[in-house]
Symmetry: C2
Subunit: 149 residues, 2 copies
DNA sequence: TGGCAAGTAAAGCCAGGGCTACACTTCTGT
DNA sequence: ACAGAAGTGTAGCCCTGGCTTTACTTGCCA
């Protein structure tokens, strides 16, 4: 097991996985902000910087910076002193994120994690769940729901 | 549902979860490096900066910086031009990380994720799995293994 | 033993994501 | 109608974690 030729854990050719993990983390924040803005628009009709900031637990300049990134990425639009709105692309992202979050929480609960813990952990986990894994989660949930009946 | 007093998704009191996710990510890199150094020591008897760098997929200076952080945190020691070694604390951390990684991969596989995908996703996921969730994973795995028999 | 390759370190750059402090709009209430 | 409060924007700073370049050790080998 201390053999670096071992095929299941060959270490000499693994940097990609770390790179992928790093890249995933790079978009994580954007996803959170997009989702949050979507929530706010749905609830209040608009998303104000101050509201975004307080919900994200950051100061407003930080929120402003994040929104600037979203705008740069074409996910949001805003006019000075007006609310922030999602583009079509941004709204689609928010929807995807929301759905994924729900799936992750459901899966955690399905394998026995307490709901509160599941909600908390999902916030960090969800950004690293690949599409393939998400599909597997959905299948598993569908199956275990069927088994329950 | 546009009511911000709703208890299941009360948004005005949720910043902590984001803060927790951010904090988790802060130690993620350290964990990866500690684990990698542990692997290298086990395999080659010592961990050289160059080896660490190539396995992590970064340049040497980046690895040097990371090792400096590990030393600052009391997880590793090193002397110039000699290898890097883990302190007791660092070794314990590496073991925990390794065990957690295995559990996460196993759980993913257990719910139907292909092994290769599981390995890849686990790298990002593992750092966000709380102790409580990890326990739940272990229980689930124990149960499903028993069911298999 | 002298020189060169490999390993290591240090410095300086970038971007991201926090922060505080301060300036400026917008809104609101008298 | 205007002043002050609330909201927003901007500047400048810190730290992390990448990067490249450059300089210095070390150690090995001819």
């Amino acid at each position: 097991m201390t053999n670096d030729q071992d095929q299941t854990s060959n270490p000499t050719a693994q940097p990609e996985r770390f790179n992928q993990a790093r890249a995933a983390q790079a978009v994580a924040i954007l996803e959170d902000y997009a989702e949050m803005i979507g929530d706010l628009i749905e609830e209040m009709g608009e998303a104000r910087i101050t509201d975004i900031a307080s919900r994200m637990g950051v100061t407003h300049p930080t929120a402003t910076k994040a929104v600037a990134r979203l705008k740069r990425e074409g996910l949001a639009v805003s006019r000075p002193y007006r609310g922030v709105f999602l583009t079509e692309e941004g709204a689609a992202l928010a929807d995807r994120v929301r759905a994924r979050h729900r799936t992750v929480v459901d899966l955690l609960v399905a394998v026995g994690v307490p709901l509160a813990t599941a909600e908390l952990d999902a916030e960090g986990l969800e950004h690293h769940v690949s599409d393939a894994t998400l599909e597997a989660f959905d299948s598993f949930l569908a199956k275990s729901r069927k088994d329950q009946d």
